[in-house]
Amino acid sequence: MKKKLNPQTRKSFITYGLLLIVFIAVEILLKTGSISSMLQGLLVPICVYSILAVSLNLTVGILGELSLGQAGFMCVGAYASAIFSNLVKDSITQPVLRFTLAIFIGGIVAAIFGILIGIPVLRLRGDYLAIVTLAFGEIIKNVFAALYIGYDSAGLHISLKSQGDLGLKPDGKMIINGALGIGGTPNDSTFEIAFVILFISVIIIYNFIHSRTGRAVMSIRDNRIAAESVGLNITKYKLITFALTAFLAGVAGVLYSHNFYSLQASKFDYNLSILVLVFVVLGGIGNIRGSIIAAAVLTLLPELLRSINNYRMLFYAVILIVMMICTSNETIRTFFIRNFQKLKGLIIKNKSGSETVKEAE
């Protein structure tokens, strides 16, 4: 007995399959040493950006609210987990256990911030979420840039003024050194771990969308008044979605902070939030697979264009604009789809003549 998959399930399984294929291909290339060290350094960031993009797509595409604070949640997750890892670096030496804990801590702290922001803002209609998340991202960045945390035998010391203000004893150690950020975080995230987390994130998001909760969220997006009329608690579902987005952004932050030896708050600026939004818009709002592709392509692009160094950003901008036109302009899109189908028809024809007839019918 063959069970027929419904179209939603099929779509998600195609994405899982594509991800696995790409992973295996990259692994083979890594093993054979045919990836430059420059590109190798980009593998974890690509996973990080993909997680950021798919999780933002949950808020922008599925919930239909604009959030500009993705970098802020990522920053919270990155710092929370980096502080944790630095504190337990000596007591928990098992890297897998330490990193698993770090991931949960980063994600949960970010989710708590998401809920705290969401409770007042998600009750409102309109652009308030965009405004508040934008402010949140900037505030978080600046607070962390001014934060000094150290510890010694007397315990934790926190200051917002300077390193000297902490009054550490000689045996003390700095954890966060203001604008210099956090140094010495154990490099626990590898491409394999980052990929596994990306994969799990995608599964979580697909399962979330195709469940009772996801249906409720999408119905709120489509028609708020009707959703209320069938008895849906609007604020609750908005909050759940937003918290999940923040959680995954926090997890991305954990991967990010454990990928580099040092971490500065200035990296989590407004541009990063906008960049992630660009991934989502170019990949297609509500399209999970598209978000990953856009994140990967646009992260690789500046590196691939490095050979034409001076014109790099020019080309990047041109490609962005072309992609934007191709994905949003109806005429051009149908042109591409039609030609793609023609191409597909040609390939099938070459394989066997009789199948094409079937296809045409």
Binding site: S211, G231, L232
Partner: protein, 252 residues
């Protein structure tokens, strides 16, 4: 005891008295019509009954339970479901998912169960699918179940809205101009649908309508609203021949 009892309901928007001293009593299983000229306040009455607006005075009792001043969600849970004058479907969801959203509060599992695909997810989803298809087949929509709701023709969108409202398992169904924009054939079909809903689901229906063929065809009793006030009520044939009502519609 009446299923719905509204006493001296009123609401003011600033200085405008949109609905004033409106009372209505609907028995279980009745097909009741609310008519009146444009701007008489019919939709406002619906919005008051479903909690979109809070009444400034008066009381609403559903099946012995006082529901005055509750919000839309609480009122839906208490047992009133509605459709809208301008169709409000979840356009990007499939037809069956529209109905499943309606079933939301009756088939439950947590978000975690959904994300981690625990056994309860599959069990509940299966039950929901079965129930939703059952409902859709009543409205002859089961063949379109997996199409997007926005792709349905107008008449079927109206039906889907009724199906979604019924999925919330209400005691009272409010239909706001169900025949608006329909041709005579579609209206005739709709009349049969509404009648079968009442008979099959043992439902009580209150509807607003301008189409007199539909009103005289299926409503057993009518209330007439004019300038926010109750003009008269009674059996359909009596109300429609009342000179006051004819005057309200046609002028002097």
């Amino acid at each position: 005891m009446a299923l719905l009892e509204v006493k001296k309901l009123g609401i003011s928007f600033g200085g405008l008295r949109a609905v004033d001293e409106f009372s209505i009593k609907i028995e279980k299983g009745e097909l009741y019509g609310l008519i009146g000229p444009n701007g008489a306040g019919k939709t406002t009455v619906f919005n008051l009954l479903t909690g979109v607006y809070k009444p400034t005075d008066g009381s609403i009792t559903l099946d012995g339970e006082d529901i005055t001043g509750r919000n839309t969600i609480q009122i839906n849970k208490a047992g009133i479901a509605r459709t809208f004058q301008n169709i409000r479907l979840f356009h990007n969801l499939s037809v069956i998912d529209n109905v499943k959203v309606g079933l939301h509060n009756h088939y439950k599992y947590s978000s975690g169960t959904g994300v981690f695909r625990l056994p309860k997810f599959f069990k509940t989803e299966k039950e929901m699918n079965k129930k939703a298809l059952e409902l859709l087949s009543v409205f002859d929509l089961d063949k379109e179940a997996y199409l997007p709701a926005s792709g349905l023709p107008y008449g079927k969108q109206r039906k889907l809205e009724i199906a979604r409202a019924l999925a919330t398992q209400p005691k009272l169904l409010l239909l706001d101009e169900p025949a608006a924009g329909m041709n005579p054939n579609e209206t005739a079909e709709l009349m049969n649908t509404i009648r079968s809903v009442r008979d099959n689901f043992d439902m009580t229906v209150l509807l607003i309508e301008h189409d007199m063929s539909l009103v005289s065809g299926i409503c057993e009793r009518l209330s007439v609203l004019n300038f926010g006030q109750l003009l008269c009520e009674g059996k359909t044939s009596e109300v429609l021949s009342n000179p006051e009502v004819i005057k309200a519609y046609l002028g002097d």
